[in-house]
């Protein structure tokens, strides 16, 4: 099958790839470029694990042909951390335990990133709506809401709300 040169911006850098027409962006990122942060989940557009940003909007890389992002800016989860420091969204998922098995997390992180770029003061409904294309089987979503609130606070330059302090174990044992 014929291959074509596809030029796009990948994580802030110009990228030229030679790809067959039938290559999906997800497979190209993972198998072709080794960017395995983006996960393969349902493989059918139902779970959101493969979410990447295309021109700043969340898209499913499992249902995008590489040729369809020609001339566009693609961002994957690998683009978020800077100099070894987690981004605010990644920090939120880490601090608030928004990830358990982690398979869905890169998708959630990218969908949350897209939300926070448009709206850095989302309420619970905004977050539920923006993450509506992503499925998590571990967390029950509450901790993911906490994680995005944490990230939104960081992005606004505020100190995120801490969890209530843990019970004082020593005192409990004494009693």
């Amino acid at each position: 099958m014929a291959k074509r040169i596809v030029s796009f911006t990948l994580n802030g850098r110009a990228h030229d790839g030679v790809v067959p027409d039938n290559t999906l962006l997800l497979d190209y990122l993972r198998e072709g470029l080794g960017l395995t942060g983006t996960k393969t989940g349902c493989d059918g557009g139902e779970c959101g694990a493969c979410t990447v940003l295309v021109d700043g909007r969340a898209q499913l890389s499992c249902l995008t042909l590489v040729g369809q992002v020609a001339g566009k800016a693609v961002e994957t989860v690998e683009s978020l951390s800077r100099n070894g420091r987690l981004s605010d969204v990644q920090e939120g998922f880490h601090m608030k335990l928004g990830a358990q098995c982690g398979a869905c997390t890169p998708g959630f992180v990218m969908a949350a990133e897209a939300l926070l770029r448009r709206n850095d003061r989302p309420d619970d409904d905004d977050i539920r709506e923006a993450l509506g294309s992503n499925i998590c089987r571990c967390t029950g979503y509450i901790k993911i809401l906490d994680a995005v609130h944490h990230a939104a606070a960081r992005r606004r330059g505020e100190e995120p709300a801490p969890y209530p302090p843990l019970p004082d174990r020593a005192a409990g044992q004494a009693a």
Partner: protein, 337 residues
């Protein structure tokens, strides 16, 4: 990674180039967002040798919405329709329908043309190749010759149409601009969706659900002036996002004092076509009373033909659609006061 079958992608820049490509490759399929077609390709339900990408067709990316009518290009993304201020104001059913499709990420990708032409679905069809093979395939695929939903269907397919935009557009005399080898034409949506599944074979069915000539493709969809219609869209799904509807319902009412002066109801997710309830307008004219509600109930019983094509039983989907239609009529009648 499972590679997709080999195909070529053509990326026309103009509508004329797209038409030429379509004529040169009769077996080609148009691809917009790919959220419907690429899933089917992945499952080897379809294996088109050529895809024609509509994303570079600048002519088909505009929205014109005003008091006099609505025209939406086929390559417009669904989120653009959902967020468009004039559509939200004048054609709320259309904006709400667009905003209810799948989830936010799918709406960033999916296009208007793709949603209108959404493939009909069935639990015996939208499955992986090995699943279908184990079940001896079905009527809708080339390999099968039996409808598992209705074994005595005499070659008629009952796969369900579940697009959301079409019912909302039907409220406003929706039409579709098509371009094909014989030129451009505009078809009313009521004539375009032919999936009546009559057993005598006089109409289309779940396989042949659009009145589209070979080589034709959608340019734009259009709706007439809203006038004094107050409209809305509602749909019920097993979960709130990324799910095909149990049933979807678009309603428009006009109210003068305490009188219901116009009533239009269109329902999706039940039949192999979006159903514009015939006879609903005859129920208008008086107050919105029990007789009107009973009338809607009767029309739904008569015209909705939901079969067991999804994970919910057919009669349940019909009841859901009926109740939702009645609820929406009541809400909109109140809102129109």
């Amino acid at each position: 990674m499972d590679a997709l079958h080999s195909f070529e992608v053509i990326r026309p820049r103009t509508v004329e180039e797209a038409l030429a490509a379509r004529q040169a490759h009769p077996e080609s399929r148009m691809i917009g967002g790919g959220t419907d077609l690429l899933v089917n390709i992945r499952r080897q339900i379809e294996t088109p040798p050529v895809l024609i990408d509509t994303n570079d067709l600048g002519d088909l990316k505009s929205i014109e919405a005003g008091e006099n009518g609505l025209v939406i290009g086929a390559s417009v993304r669904l989120y653009e329709v959902a967020e468009h201020p004039e559509i939200r104001c004048l054609y709320p059913a259309v904006a709400q329908a667009a905003g209810s499709i799948a989830g936010p990420t799918q709406r960033n990708m999916g296009t208007v043309g793709g949603n209108v032409c959404l493939d009909t679905r069935c639990i015996y069809y939208n499955q992986s190749e090995w699943w279908r093979e184990a079940n001896d395939h079905c009527l809708k695929t080339e390999l099968g010759d039996m409808c598992h939903v209705a074994p005595k269907s005499k070659g008629v397919c009952f796969a369900t149409y579940s697009g959301d935009l079409a019912p909302a557009m039907l409220l406003f005399d929706g039409a579709i601009d098509l371009l094909g080898p014989n030129g451009a034409r505009t078809v009313s949506m009521r004539d375009f969706f032919i999936g009546h599944s009559r057993q005598d074979g006089s109409t289309g069915d779940g396989i042949d659900y659009m009145a589209m000539e070979p080589g034709e493709f959608v340019l734009r969809i259009r709706a007439a002036a809203p006038g004094n219609l107050v409209s809305g869209y509602d749909k019920i799904r097993i979960r709130r996002s990324i799910e095909y509807p149990v049933a979807g319902c678009a309603v428009a009412v006009a109210r003068d004092g305490d009188r219901l002066t116009d009533l239009r109801v269109a329902i999706t997710g039940t039949n192999p076509r979006p159903v514009f309830l015939e006879g609903a307008a005859d129920l208008a004219g008086g107050a919105l009373d029990d007789a009107t509600v009973q009338g809607i109930d009767d029309l739904c019983k008569d015209q909705l033909m939901s079969m067991k094509t999804t994970f919910t039983p057919g009669h349940y989907r019909r009841r859901v659609a009926t109740k939702m239609a009645i609820r929406l009529v009541r809400e909109l009648f109140e809102a129109a006061a």
